[in-house]
Symmetry: C2
């Protein structure tokens, strides 16, 4: 079907395109638009049926949203923006340069404009910045029949009707009611009697990660957001939460590779910005990595007389780095999912100790045989290297397992205590141990 449409567009047979589109899913239409060149894209956008134009707009990329706004008439802007759900309007305007924002707001009706401005003022990544206002509100004095009629009258413009919110005259949140319960109830039952008063909610200033955790814990599909006076000001829906979960995961991943998290997609980010995000960390790590240089120079004589010791340096450093990364990855992820708490620090310490003894011993033994049999290294040297290996693995896993927890305890993001930072720390310790053992046992 996509090829048919592309062909029709090439041949400028837009009337037929319109018919084909009538059958398509909004998300697929948006995707189609994103694959067209700029002129055709605008024509296609303009022939979209009015009812779906705003929805399709909300699904195209920010880049294209900006291009479209800059290219269409004021009247057309007005139609789109007044039709968008508030959260989609805010998502879009948050990222626009001020001339675009001004152009849009100039063409928005007054009430909507006030709302948008209010929402744009919520802190980034807060519940307020992702919520929307198109929810169903009921009064607890209503009976089921009235409530259903109210929904029929107003439901077409709501983001969702699957969960309804009961508020009082002052807009204070009193209860929540699923559409299922509403439909299954008798017509004359009072809303106040069947609503759930034990409402799970968030505050406008709560962090989006906290909100996502509520969704995960209680298997919600929508969550009410209240202000400081417990007045219902918006709802967050599950589709936004899924995007937030991916965002948070990407952020953690980037931090663990010692980068400032990117805000845009990789391919859309300029090399200059990519370099900037990585530089700071690379510099910090390099400076601390010179400690290893200092250690090596301290043992200069040892290395000069036994260059073979140098050949094992990379192996010991790599093993320590890997072992430490593995431990810290497990712990950081466990903490992010709520499976490990800071009070578990002793448990983690003991567990990593046991794991490292097991893993480290196997490694040491395997390598002892490898060195002695295949590389003809003398027994004492092999013993020194393998024992250092064991110490390195134990140290690495203890450091890798515990540091993220320490970070969390002092209110730092545990994700920064990952790969590169742990690796560098472990390298310094591992090399010190290696050379100390070597100098003691090889009689120098």
């Amino acid at each position: 079907m996509q090829e048919t449409i592309m062909k029709l567009i090439e041949e400028n047979r837009y009337k037929e395109v319109r018919n084909e589109i009538a059958e398509m899913n909004i998300v697929d239409i948006a995707q189609l638009i994103m694959e067209l060149d700029r002129t055709k894209l605008l024509i296609l956008f303009r022939i979209l049926p009015k009812e779906i134009a705003a929805d399709v707009f909300s699904y195209v990329s920010l880049e294209l949203q900006q291009y479209i706004i800059e290219s269409i008439t004021d009247k057309e802007i007005s139609n789109i923006v007044n039709d968008l759900f508030i959260d989609d309007a805010v998502d879009f305007l948050e990222e626009m340069p001020s001339n675009v924002v001004k152009k849009v707001l100039r063409n928005t009706d007054e009430d909507t404009r006030k709302l948008i401005n209010q929402f744009l003022n919520y802190p980034d990544y807060s519940a307020g910045s992702v919520m929307t206002i198109e929810f169903v509100d009921l009064k607890k004095e209503m009976i089921v029949k009235e409530a259903l009629n109210h929904i029929r009258a107003t439901g077409v413009d709501k983001e969702t009707i699957n969960t309804c919110y009961v508020i009082d005259k002052g807009r204070k949140l009193e209860g929540v009611l699923s559409i299922r319960k509403l439909i299954l109830a008798e017509e004359d039952v009072i809303i106040g009697d069947i609503m759930n008063e034990d409402v799970i909610y968030a505050n406008t200033l709560d962090d989006q990660e906290t909100v996502a955790d509520l969704f995960k814990k209680y298997d919600l599909t929508a969550l009410p957001v209240v202000d400081n006076e417990h007045r219902l000001v918006g709802i967050v829906t599950i589709d936004d939460i899924i995007d937030i979960i991916d965002q948070e995961n990407t952020e953690d991943l980037h931090k663990m590779a010692a980068m400032e998290p990117l805000e845009e997609e990789y391919l859309k980010t300029s090399p200059f910005i990519l370099a900037k995000h990585r530089i700071v960390w690379l510099l910090v790590l390099m400076i601390s990595a010179t400690f290893t240089g200092i250690i090596i120079q301290k043992y200069e004589k040892l290395l000069q007389s036994m260059v073979i010791l140098t050949s094992f340096i990379p192996m010991i450093m790599d093993t320590g780095g890997n072992a430490g990364s593995q431990a810290s990855t497990l712990i950081i992820r466990g903490m992010a999912l709520g499976e490990i708490k800071t009070s578990d620090m002793l448990k983690v310490f003991l567990k990593e100790f046991q794991v490292s003894i097991l893993a480290g011993s196997v490694l040491a033994v395997v390598n002892f045989f490898r060195l002695v049999i295949f590389e003809h290294v003398n027994y004492l040297m092999a013993l020194v290297v393998c024992f250092s290996l064991l110490c390195t693995v134990v140290l690495a896993k203890l450091v890798g397992g515990v540091l993220p927890m320490v970070a969390k305890k002092v209110h730092l993001d545990p994700a920064i205590m990952a790969g590169p930072l742990i690796t560098t720390l472990v390298d310094v310790l591992a090399l010190s141990i290696y050379f100390e053992i070597a100098s003691k046992f090889l009689n120098l």
Copy 2:
């Protein structure tokens, strides 16, 4: 409230506990149960109102589910299992030892038992293994009024009524209809006229990751699953998808740290299993790390005469490792989110080249000054080291950016081309370059 209940439980005042619990959210009750010791837990579980016992059961940990089943009577098992949604029953039984599974199935009615067995046969991580059967099915010949009555009659046992599925006599999936559309329609409208025939669906054998991507792309809250003859056999709901998204992210994260992904939570896994999952990779990496040892031995004379060269080895290796990790993390994540495709390989190569020249140059220059001014290294040596640094960064980012894409092209999981593997490869190349440059320019 939690402390009140704990206190009442301590004092064995279970009648009052029952009253308190009547107000509590099912998820919170499950959490409370998980914090009690074994005897009290069983008593509390047994006094739960029948309507919520199965739901609470589905929320406690697998460990506790097993303990409860092993401790209660056959009749009690029967009540729970026949009440559970099929997907929750399957989730639980999938992980149980066979004696528990036999005990449960012995006490399940015949139809349910057949279904459970059928579902247990679906491959792990497939749509079939996470779907459930309690969905609303309608006929297209129905009118809205009939449909709503049908829902009222059967809706209480459904996992969700928010999306209804239209099937024909042979159970073939014909259309989908949201409860919103149903409620907003006139009573005498025919279902077939308002249903959406362009249904987004999955096949029972589709991978759960593919299913999750459909949810993300189309902002779904439920997805129908069909068999090879397009008959509707179940639905997947968004709450399960959220768990799957977290699972897949954790799996990728573990693979990137070169570990076999864990199946259980970290704290619940024995040290022996934790060691086993890490060992294989540590061994593989160690063997490849010995290549670095060979390289160093090749340049033995060089190092013996200029031990200072050795002191820069860790710095060069760490930088290469970090730079490579950063690149591979960005690319792996971008591919997982669908933002980067294998056809983008040239773009990625060019971008990483530009970023690495920028980042590498800054690093090289900063370190040149650091070495010459603070560590009194002679100019030529500093130049050799810093130039090697630049080459290392460029190489690391190119390798780190491109290898995951190559992996995907040959149908391997790109996540394995992360940290440790990239690091080792980069180390070997970086050291070779470093020593080559050093021996050429320092006239040896």
